[in-house]
């Protein structure tokens, strides 16, 4: 599929028609890409937390009565933390993440001039 053409779209002296496009910035590629939209995460460890709070309600918020539930909550929290770290270390499966792309583009920027 060909890209849509720019011929006769802008307001120029040689162009007899009304302008189709009126860009507010110059049509030049910038040396950065946009950020990836972060995907919607859900809250982790809700069930363990509610179990622990139910135990607290029954035992007047004493910690020694709810040891097991508290330990389960901690285990769930640490597992969730590790999973999050693994996901962030793995990075983007398809292309490079936008931060690395921006670093590369900073080092090798787009040439607006010919030479």
């Amino acid at each position: 599929m060909a890209t849509p053409s720019l011929r006769g779209r802008l307001a120029r002296l040689g162009n007899p028609r009304k302008p189709i496009l009126k860009p507010n910035k110059p049509l030049i590629l910038a040396n950065r890409v946009g950020e990836r939209r972060r995907e919607r995460g859900e809250a982790t460890c809700i069930t363990e937390m509610s179990v622990m709070m139910a135990c607290w309600k029954q035992n007047e918020f004493r910690d020694e009565a709810c040891r097991k539930e508290i330990q389960d909550f901690f285990d769930c929290a640490s597992k969730a933390e590790e999973a999050r770290k693994m996901r962030s270390i793995q990075g983007e499966s398809g292309s490079l993440p936008p931060k690395k792309l921006n670093m590369l583009l900073q080092r090798f920027p787009n040439k607006p001039h010919v030479s």
């Binding site: 919607r40 995460g41 859900e42 809250a43 982790t44 460890c45 809700i46 937390m49 509610s50 622990m52 709070m53 607290w56 309600k57 918020f61 004493r62 910690d63 020694e64 508290i70 909550f73 901690f74 769930c76 929290a77 969730a80 933390e81 999050r84």
Partner: protein
């Protein structure tokens, strides 16, 4: 941090130089906090157990790391980190948090006076108690300190989350270091603010530590208040995204 460097220099074992790692230098930004040590400097290994291991027990990796450390440049160890048996990382951290204006001498003396006061109180109780109760009285100030701070650690914390233009206090699990920090912070704040003008810090701190050791007192109450608020806001838990 040593692991990637080990992989990089395995191929060149005869080279004494280490591979310089690329520092991110952004144009127009100068680093404000920096150290005189370059990136090739390694952290010092202070633990005695590392050096006491007999040579036969070491794995290949550890033997290689030992050889590497002979040629690498190592930073100087900080003044407060020793390999002494008396050093306790929790006590050092607490002393640093108590310190004001860099007066480490005063903070350390306050810490030692606190531990002494705790010990004296417990010994007094011990000598006044009958022989059945004597077994239950803990006299080691370090165990009392550790247990008291452990009793003050909150299990769950509240995080302000912006949703629909309002900030909601959402219950969320806390990291271990955050919980330890909160326990120490609450203890110090309590001892600084809620005391009579003429009581000294060691006196007040020892009193609070002993109360926290028995799960009583204002610091443990603050922890319970935090838990109660989290329990009251448990419906907002879905506002979290992590």
């Amino acid at each position: 941090m040593a692991a990637p460097l080990v992989k990089a220099t395995r191929g060149w074992s005869d080279l004494a130089l280490s591979v310089p790692s690329a520092i991110l230098r952004l144009p127009g930004l100068t680093q404000v906090r920096w150290s005189r040590y370059g990136p090739e400097y390694r952290d010092p290994q202070i633990e005695k157990e590392y050096y006491r291991k007999p040579l036969a027990e070491l794995t290949e990796e550890e033997k290689f790391e030992r050889e590497l450390r002979k040629t690498q440049r190592i930073k100087a160890a900080p003044a407060m980190k020793t390999s002494s048996v008396f050093e306790d990382p929790l006590i050092s951290k607490f002393t640093n948090m108590m310190m004001k204006g860099g007066n480490k001498v005063l903070a350390r003396s306050l810490m030692t006076q606190t531990l002494e006061a705790v010990k004296r109180k417990q010994f007094k109780k011990y000598h006044a108690a009958s022989s059945e109760e004597r077994a239950t009285i803990e006299r080691n100030p370090y165990t009392i300190f550790h247990q008291a701070l452990k009793n003050c650690e909150p299990v769950i914390g509240l995080v302000p989350i912006l949703k629909g233009g309002h900030f909601y206090q959402v219950p969320a699990p806390l990291a271990n270091r955050r919980r330890r920090f909160l326990a120490m912070k609450w203890m110090i704040t309590e001892c600084r603010e809620n005391k009579h003008r003429r009581t000294l810090m060691p006196e007040k701190l020892s009193h609070e530590l002993l109360q926290a050791f028995h799960n009583q007192g204002p610091v443990v109450k603050r922890k319970h208040d935090m838990h109660k608020m989290a329990e009251a806001n448990r419906a907002l838990a879905h506002y979290r995204w992590w």
